[in-house]
Symmetry: C2
Subunit: 362 residues, 2 copies
């Protein structure tokens, strides 16, 4: 099989290395890599700088897209699928916005669309979810899906760092991007819980409909109170479907009891906990980010295509309505400007918004 | 597809129910169920009481074996594979003793052999391990694989019960068998870690070579000391391969720090933690036993056969030598008859055996 690679950054180089290490019997080669002209020295004749050099290459059967961003990746994915090339991507922004279109195009053109690395990084959660759904209806999903923020919260807690110092450390250690806003505000998590929910509940959800509240308001005073109350603070996405076919979904700081499995999910680790109709409380835990874990997920997808196992048997997803009542199932910790706090049931949105910081309590 | 079912006990009935609930497009029916004549009233004309009524039925493409025991299941599995029928089993005793023979027979006869439910119950750990190994070499496995003993240790700890009372409660709640010796002494775990290690390290291991030390010596005094020292006691299997191609493998009570992910694995739950060459610290957590979780794993296997995804690409496993040096990597807690205890490095087998109770410390 001839593989085209879009993007030769950290993840792209990881993919390249792992593909070279694959069992020779798979017979995979990478004749073309798309990136900027600056990569000429590293890539030599393999470098192409026009996406259509790969999209229109009839010898290329499959592509890996690890460019980042939205517009170019979207054009790459659509173009390749229309030409019957299987596509593997790690791009959560594009996948969360266009999953149905990609799945349907793959069906129509008799190729595969794989996105294991787009949620949960190196944790094989998407394949497991798709497999499991054949037998087991998912009732709800509960997940820590962002390594950057989990790293920050862990370092603040364990090293007694300020938010700013923990963020600096995260950047220094490669766990936060130069502009971490999408991570800190929860938008990255919104995209990932959207992908998992779309699969679990077999429908489309708009990212814009998913409520998210970030962790930039956390400080040491708040963390000390939360610890004293017997909880750990995690940045958690929750999603479930009610009987009216509406999705209840929220991304917000969440206090978990210290003996909850999520309390021991630390640093850059992620975890996803499912409750299902026949198999309850299934949890997957692993590295949610990083070049090699992410590349591992991508190359696992590639192997599933090589072995004809990359099959998603649902298409034409329904549009799912988002219902914001999920909040009413929980108590909330509300911290005020003057340092006073309370943990109470049935809070209003107004109370939450008027607080200095709040967290759901489970 | 016509499915033959061997065994109509708790798990067999769960399988029957889940197969009836499968999407109609799979077109699966169960024309014959093997069990004792006493099941005639429940099964009517579907009941067969001679295993060869299914083994030699040319219309049956695939069988599920959930009989328990060794000799009859072995004959069933061998007979069906030789006749080209795919086999799905939950039988850890048979799988741990004959995995290579079954995999090779399936290859020779162009059918599948699936055993997801034989280790980790409802956790999809075997499929994930097989998939992951295409890209990611496993360095070591660390696992809680027995729901009965984990339930007993949890109830002793949380309800302050004696060992005997916790065992009674486990039996009452269906988490322990009438004769729980294989669970309490670790033999059940030996079989499961053998299966996982055989896959991870691509070789055969004899159950007899795997050292195991049970939990029957645990009492409240010991648990209190362990808790005071900042640990939780778990019954853990560990396995790794060294550079000489030897497997280091042990099953023994293990003290895990309270902030370790295993400390929050409670009651009948199981967990399996892998470290790999490209994807480190991947953990799977879920129910290790129970009719419906186990049946879910079995029917997931069935779906993978129906979708032509049930493929194991290694055969002719090497015989792996077991090296007992794993012990030397850890400290041990040694509790004496007189109530004195110490935590020390480099203990001898003689010291361990002379103690009233011991546990590895990680």
């Amino acid at each position: 099989m001839k593989l085209g690679l879009f993007g030769y950054g950290t993840i792209g180089r990881g993919v390249y290395t792992l593909v070279e290490g694959l069992d020779k019997s798979y017979n995979v080669s990478i004749p073309k890599v798309f990136d900027l002209p600056i990569k000429k020295e590293q890539l030599g004749d393999k470098l192409v700088t026009d996406i259509y050099d790969i999209i229109n290459d009839k010898d290329i059967d499959c592509v890996v897209e690890v460019l980042g961003g939205h517009d170019v990746p979207y054009e790459v994915i659509i173009g390749c699928l229309k030409n019957g090339k299987s596509v593997i991507t790690a791009n959560k922004e594009v996948v969360s916005n266009h999953l149905e279109e990609f799945i349907n195009l793959a069906h129509e053109n008799n190729c595969s669309f794989c996105f294991e690395a787009s949620a949960g990084g190196g944790i094989p959660v998407i394949r497991t979810l798709i497999d499991n759904l054949k037998v087991n209806d998912v009732n709800d999903i509960f997940a820590i899906l962002n390594g950057t923020t989990n790293y920050i919260l862990t370092r603040m807690d364990e090293d007694n760092l300020s938010f700013e110092d923990a963020l600096f450390l995260a950047k220094k250690n490669g766990f936060a991007e130069a502009n971490p806003t999408a991570d800190l505000e929860g938008l990255d998590i919104v995209r990932k819980i959207n992908i998992l929910s779309s699969l679990a509940f077999k429908g489309n959800i708009s990212n814009d409909d998913i409520y998210h509240y970030g962790i930039t308001g956390v400080n040491k005073e708040i963390l000390d109170i939360i610890k004293k109350e017997g909880y750990a603070l995690k940045f958690v996405a929750s999603s479930m479907k009610n009987e009216e076919n509406e999705v209840l979904i929220r991304v917000e700081p969440t206090m978990v009891p210290l003996n909850h499995p999520f309390a021991s999910v630390k640093n850059e680790f992620n975890a996803v906990l499912f409750t299902g109709s026949t198999n309850s409380d299934l949890m997957f835990y692993g590295k949610g980010a990083g070049s090699i874990p992410t590349a591992t997920a991508i190359v696992s997808d590639l192997v599933s295509i090589l072995e004809n196992r990359a099959y998603i048997n649902y298409k034409n997803l329904n549009q799912l309505k988002v219902n914001h009542d999920l909040k009413n199932l929980y108590k909330y910790f509300i911290f005020q400007e003057d340092g006073k706090y309370e943990i109470k049931e049935e809070v209003s949105d107004k109370e939450l918004m008027a607080s200095k910081f709040y967290a759901r309590v489970i």
